[in-house]
């Protein structure tokens, strides 16, 4: 009961080559930066772009055009048909697949009821709010009872305040959907909240795959580390000493050997004006290259060996009178550093 896809799309200078597996009932998120090939992968699965092989429960979809694949798509800006009522939008799929009008309408109304919008059946899409339009798009995609539900940046078009609510609602709907779900997003929070498994796509290739908490704890690329907000290095471990590829050495608590990834949170880094005396911790000179105010902390971008991000309190900023170009000392407890083999 698995959907297997080997997607191969070559277009211009871009080359997508990714293998995906989605279990029945599972939600997989394809997470990656812009231009990584996420939307191309989604289009290839939907049959809108040729390329690759897809099998679902043993039947092959290769060569089938979009209209003959059992797929439902929620597009980024929903693409509701403006000249049709909400009900006609949702009934369009069943009608197109040969269901009689009365039955299609009944089914559409049922799907609208599930997303709490049966009162808007007669409304035109342009009268809906962003969150409502998203729910109609979901109802429309599910009304054909697809084997595979594809969601392209389903929350990107919403403003921040509605996104939170719509995200948890969407999570609830996805839990009750019994088919295979693939979600494409560049927002790590969407992926963490909605997906059972995350596939990181960079430059047309899957670079990391795993459960959300695994990906958060053990990033394997700079992009993922940046997404989850960790300092991230590659290095070679000799017992408790790790020599970093880009310069610098860190002392860690867990002994290891061979090539490793090294991560620690920016909040684990402390900054001093003078070199802290007599401590076994990691201590190295750094230069402030940037300061960024976040909600409750200040993130300081530091050059050095290694370069590092540090989160400090507003009090520290005031005390150290931080300015770009300032020379400081960074220190980091060995116990805060997490290493894992690469």
């Amino acid at each position: 009961m698995t959907l297997h896809a080997e997607l191969r799309v070559r277009r211009g200078g871009f080359d997508l080559g990714v293998d995906l597996g989605v279990e029945r009932g599972e939600v997989v998120a394809l997470l990656g930066p812009n231009g990584a090939g996420k939307t191309t992968a989604l289009r290839a699965l939907a049959g809108l772009t040729p390329g690759g092989r897809v099998t679902c429960d043993g039947s092959a979809w290769d060569g089938l055009p979009a209209e003959r694949r059992p797929v439902g798509v929620v597009f980024q800006d929903y693409l509701l048909f403006a000249h049709m009522s909400v009900l006609d939008n949702v009934a369009f799929g069943p009608r197109a697949r040969g269901t009689r009008k009365a039955e299609a309408n009944a089914r559409a109304l049922d799907h609208l009821r599930q997303v709490g919008l049966e009162d808007f059946a007669k409304a035109k899409p342009r009268t809906l709010s962003g969150g409502q339009a998203q729910r109609v798009a979901l109802a429309r995609a599910l009304a054909t009872s697809p084997e595979l539900l594809l969601l392209d940046e389903p929350l990107a078009a919403l403003d921040a305040s509605t996104r939170l609510r719509v995200r948890s609602e969407l999570a609830r709907h996805l839990r009750t959907y019994e088919g295979h779900t693939l979600l494409v997003t560049h927002d790590p929070l969407d992926a963490m909240v909605l997906a059972d498994r995350i596939v990181i796509l960079e430059g047309g290739r899957a670079v990391q795959e795993g459960a959300p908490r695994e990906v958060v704890r053990q990033p394997r690329t700079d992009y993922v580390a940046h997404l989850v907000g960790l300092n991230f290095y590659r290095g070679t471990a000799h017992s408790t000493e790790v020599r970093l590829d880009d310069g610098g050495t860190l002392t860690v608590a867990e002994p290891a050997d061979g090539p490793v990834h090294v991560v620690f949170p920016p909040s684990a880094v402390s900054l001093y004006q003078e070199k802290p005396a007599g401590s076994p911790r990691n201590t190295w000179p750094v230069t402030v290259s940037g300061i960024e105010q976040h909600a409750h902390t200040t993130r300081v971008d530091l050059d050095g060996s290694p370069a590092v991000l540090a989160d400090v309190t507003t009090a520290t900023v005031a005390e150290l009178r931080l300015q770009p170009g300032d020379e400081l000392w960074a220190s980091l407890k060995a116990t805060e550093i997490h290493t894992y083999p690469r």
């Binding site: 209209e67 003959r68 797929v71 798509v73 693409l79 000249h83 369009f92 799929g93 697949r97 054909t144």
Partner: protein, 259 residues
Amino acid sequence: MRQRLPVVLVLPALAGLAFLLVPLIGLLVEAPWTTLPSQLVSAEVGEALKLSLVCASLATVVCLVLGVPLAWLLARGDLPGTGVVRALVTVPLVLPPVVGGVALLLVLGRRGLVGQHLDAWFGVSLPFTTAGVVVAEAFVAMPFLVISVEGALRAADRRYEEAAATLGASRWLTFRRVTLPGVLPGVVAGTVLCWARALGEFGATITFAGNFPGTTTTMPLAVYLALETDPDAAIVLSVVLLLVSVAVLAGLRDRWIRA
């Protein structure tokens, strides 16, 4: 603060406006308003007007039935050589209508390439008939519709058609339920242009269909004939054509084109 408009642009603009409007105003001023009602109900004018409206409308229907699919093919067909075909479609647009009439005569005439078979197999002869008027008008007017509809199709967001495809709609269903409603303003605008062009068609009509009162003498032909024998009648016919054109354009503009 509004800047002063430059005289270099405003003067030619006003001259251009006057150039377009003064002849029309002249027509209205010169019209024999006292005898106009009686002229209007006269058999000749009524006949020509009726023939013009019927032929232009039929020609527009022909253009819609053939032209909209052609526009779709040009915009969505993804076929090789589309650029060349598009250029060919616009030829009748720039071709002197008389040349179009001659070409039609050569192909559809009784001894023409296609006409001889039409005559031999079906006993159909198009030249110098009312059907011939429709053919001549459609030939000249269709490019207006095709260009207009194709432009609307190219401007339309194709992703809606993709959304329809993922919902299981065939291309024909997608065209009917999604594409066509989306470009309706463009189709209506093209239809109006096409109809207006057909209504005013003169050169191809007189060449291909001749000038037989009651069967092929449309309004423009009647105007031209009357100018030699009865100038007042020519003016009346012209005023009627002017009013019909303006009324149709204005009526449709408010309802459709502005959107």
